[in-house]
Symmetry: D2
């Protein structure tokens, strides 16, 4: 059998120990008038699936609390059983990405000690949508580095809505990124699109990006779970916050605990911007999860004239950073030119972000680069 | 005929002069291969409706530009005519609320000279969801006044999703608002829900609020157009920005040019907050319109723990102010307790907003009140 | 005090008796580790507000069930109290419109015995968007009457997005409707837009329509609750099914139990149609409520070419009828021409609906009209 | 360079010939008052990118029509150029999937002559969410075969929101599917989740399914473009119809022209069902594209009680078929039990679909199976 070796990965690394106590995960409210046989049938059914349930009888109505299920149930199925009025989940379906399981903020440490998340300075990730040429990349790197930025973004493998659009330079693009980023002391953020590419791309990048279209590409997430490089997980445009945290769970469950979430706009009925930046998601995620969360106002708005204002709002609302697109000549960009900042607009935005970040007591990471010394020193 | 007097108002005050020149409002692209008779039928049809059209022939395809239509067409109807490939609107359907018709920002001046919009300081409107009692109102007024706020909100007529919920104190509530606001030198913002109440409520308030559920209540908007008090128009939860500006157009067309827009969250698939605060709408509206726009993070989020962060983001994104709910004892509020700030949280938020507003060069309006002098003086 | 007479209506007619038993309305799940004082504080708080609560202690965690609250609580506020993990509503917030309170389908009987809802034949309501002239109306009435239709729609008071669009003929339009409908033995469906017009418009119409923009116009709903004519409540484009049923509750609570719900498309991110017809809402509403529900594919799609297919689907999915726009010359309609069927398309659609309605065992109401006999007889 | 072999695929097979004539793809409306140098700068810019443009001068305003661009532009970027008022696309961005490029309906022929699409009978695809065991599969196959169904669905590789949920039996599941389907003369529909699995899974299945979460997984779509088996492309829950057709374009551009589209519910603010079935998408897609489109009411609703009504509506609205989940014991299903039909409900639904399909003149494909003869014969 020629494909015997590519069976689906059946067990996640993070085996969940049999939980025989714990908070209620779910409450089943029986109908008023549910019969004793109905209640017993349900409790036996739960027991037969290894689910620990506690029965609590009210005056006229019975409630069943569930602990230690290991997720071995389906709310909708239980809801459909006879005698059941309603089934409500009272805990989150994600575990490792939940704040309850990890009270402290996750802080991701880059090799030189630069941190993302927690109380670390807010970061800016900047760079072109796609890597197009060495010249384009070096000019951009120089511009953002002068402004104190430490992270460069640049797509080498591009997910494009149209098959007729530029699809990226591939590994040639990654080699350019590597070369230029070393010159300027920048960390590389770049996207990976398919599971088979993960190990190779992880070699080239400092933060591996999972794009919004791949947020629920589970084979890809599992491969990301296998590496030990930080991963930036963009939210799908049609994904709820819960689904986003469940996607992060795939990576965490694989053993990679360095996940940065990136909000980049959701689909709503409002079409004046390309997407609807969901800034409310930032404090919500901060409450539900310990993972750092940044905002991408370039994809969220789709138009450069709105990038700076959403970036300011992202910092004000409490994000751990922003990621923006910058291009030396946006009109001639091979992708996403309309949302790329010019160098001038980028520098202006940086000035604004420094002030807003100070105002909310999360100063922006702004580091001058000493080419001679080959290392970074804080500007301020 | 007993109801002869309540005929629908057939003509708006702002009569639009016959426009025989002007920019293209609409472009009709004929199909490649559209026949001469088809093109002629269309141009005659337009002429018969008094629509000025210009025909432009390309190499193989004809394009028709429309000016001076006075809106006497329906895009979808034209699209359905034979030989037509596509009809695209190239101007906005609102006129008086458009930035193109009024390049300068509208600045609304309150009787004492306090301004809203333009480069005037950002404002804070604060107060309880509903007026419940004199004590509740006075305590709240004192709290917000100490923090330098000049505008108090408080609902007397409440639109409630459930008919069984508290519906407001009505005019008794307005009298309480009047009494307390005079004591503390506050401007009153309160909602009107039906056309017949407009004149009376306008007497009692400084800014008349149209709630989000009434954003397209046209008889109400027409009545608001008849008064000369400033009006705050909340965006409907399911309304596009264009519909919102069209609703403002009803008020402006009636002759009342003092409209403040208020973004308060839209419906999206994300349900972790009560609504999705659409902060991107602020810079979009600022571009499309000259009207001031403020943000209501209390209704936008529905939960007090998220109010401050969205308020900070609103100021950072460029709003002309925020409106928040404050209550001396939110747990006992008769409405919207969950989203009302306690006094402590309110004061904390004010401190944050002052800093963010400074960072974006739109200092917050913070005025100390001298009871003795019966007037306000700037705190800073 | 000059406006003493227009105080807000403080009590709904349908006074809800003190419920001291009943099914759980809400379940409060305390945190594991919630202290006894926290639990006691909560139960005392509930008691102080007249809310009947039952405490159920699990092995390590306590659950509180609430009955007989009369809605005197706010879920979000309770959620915010200390020691509380989660508060979940387990019953619907509407009562009179709920299937649980009224197990049998509501069937609305017109004066001549024609029925809407239950097992009665599916109905078709047809007519122009706006009443424009007697000729337009008579020709349309004749067309639909020949096809066996018994209900004519026609707007006299029009809610228009733009203040510059045709706003309807007002009461003149209603008079035309009255005249023509009597000629052809048709029931009139027409919209009311403001509370003060309700009694007069109710005189003229057989079914009073509340438009989607006014779904949460509570003063209007209260007035509709005061009359005894059937009311058709269109769903707001941004309204959840729960909010829609809550709006119906306003009418029912006022004492008018003849409510027909009308689904007419919701706002979603998909913009290829004017709205997104939510046909899934039909079986959902049928499960949650006893009220008849019809579908408006004209507003739902905004384009005539899609009206028939959505109408067929509406009948197939189980709706009690459909409402469509028909116009003798849609290209020259003063409103909504693009979504109005021509007579030919209308007749074709009727043939299709008859077949689909038969296929799902809800034959279409198709009645021939004998002008001589001045009454209707079934065609089939 | 060790990974030289996995460069991104840079050129699609379907090379688009230089188009020097054709319909306008885009119209650029210059501002009234745009200067001659602005217009010239724009036309030179277009020429420099190989874009063929036609200038049409109106009385006071210039319009530029674009043909033959090969997509080498970005609407938003052009919009941002000086002198430009608005840029509007007047053709669709997809080509091979557009009705304009392929006027006749695509009809997909299975090896035995069974057809999907066009005027072929409507099909039903039925089976369990996941393949769980041989017994489960055989019982299900027997049930659906008796009802005349020719297509069995069953997931072997499952995309699950939670990493802790059952992930499918992998290739063992496909072997079971193969065995059982041969026994009963059924075509297999099963999902592929990663590019590397495509060739192997295509061996096992008759129709390869791309799940909604992978609708924009471009490396996967490219691999599907390389095979010659029919592909079923589910719509992403957050994807517009245009994006869906663009995703189909990836497969078609790869050379695989056997694409069936599957609508399975979109995300909207309405949460009473798991998703919002977008039945309006069926006639819209039929107009825009030549590809067959079916509907999945199981995923669209998430609850078995609503599956039949949405399936009926799907057939009535004009879909080429439906795909539903059936399970011998849904309460014990390892995935999606709540939305799986029992055998009884399935048979009832089939009876309903036969009637509705007849009513709309697209009879359902219902074929009896003669085990002895090893072939299918029509039941009716």
């Amino acid at each position: 059998m020629p494909f015997g070796t590519i069976r689906v990965q059946s067990l996640l690394r993070a085996v969940i120990p049999e939980a025989h106590s714990g908070p209620f995960e779910m409450i089943i409210v029986m109908q008023r008038g549910a019969s004793e046989p109905q209640i017993e049938h349900l409790t036996k059914y739960l027991a037969s699936r290894g689910i620990l349930a506690e029965r609590m009888d009210g005056h006229e109505q019975t409630v069943i609390g569930i602990v230690g299920s290991n997720g071995g149930y389906d709310i909708a199925s239980l809801s459909a059983m006879s005698g059941v009025q309603e089934v409500v989940r009272v805990s989150t379906p994600y575990r490792l990405s939940a704040r309850t399981s990890h009270v402290e903020d996750t802080v991701i440490k880059m090799p030189d000690g630069t941190c993302i998340g927690g109380n670390a300075p807010s970061i800016v990730i900047a760079g072109p949508c796609s890597v197009e040429s060495e010249d384009q990349l070096r000019r951009t790197a120089e511009c953002i580095r002068k402004a104190g930025v430490r992270f460069i973004r640049g797509g080498a493998f591009k997910p494009r809505t149209s098959p007729y659009s530029f699809q990226g330079l591939g590994f040639d693009g990654l080699e350019l990124l590597k070369k230029v980023s070393e010159e300027f002391g920048l960390f590389i953020v770049s996207e990976v699109m398919e599971p088979a590419h993960v190990p190779a791309i992880a070699e080239f990048t400092d933060i591996v990006q999972i794009g919004s279209r791949n947020m629920q590409n589970y084979p890809l997430l599992r491969q990301i779970g296998n590496i030990r490089k930080p991963a930036m997980l963009k939210r799908g445009a049609g994904a709820t916050i819960e689904e986003w945290l469940m996607a992060a769970e795939y990576i965490l469950a694989g053993g990679n605990d360095k996940v940065v979430l990136c909000e980049r706009g959701i689909r709503s009925f409002e079409t004046s911007l390309r997407f609807t930046p969901d800034l409310g998601a930032v404090p919500v995620v901060k409450k539900l999860s310990h993972l750092p969360v940044i905002v991408d106002p370039s994809h969220g708005t789709g138009r450069r004239e709105f990038v700076s204002s959403i970036a300011r709002a992202a910092i004000a609302v409490g994000a751990d950073g922003v990621m923006v697109e910058v291009h030396p000549d946006p009109d001639r960009a091979l992708s996403d030119g309309a949302q790329s900042l010019t160098f001038e607009l980028f520098e202006e935005m940086m000035g604004e972000l420094v002030r807003v970040a100070d105002a909310v007591n999360r100063p922006l990471l702004v580091e001058q680069f000493h080419a001679a010394a080959q290392h970074s020193v804080p500007v301020r």
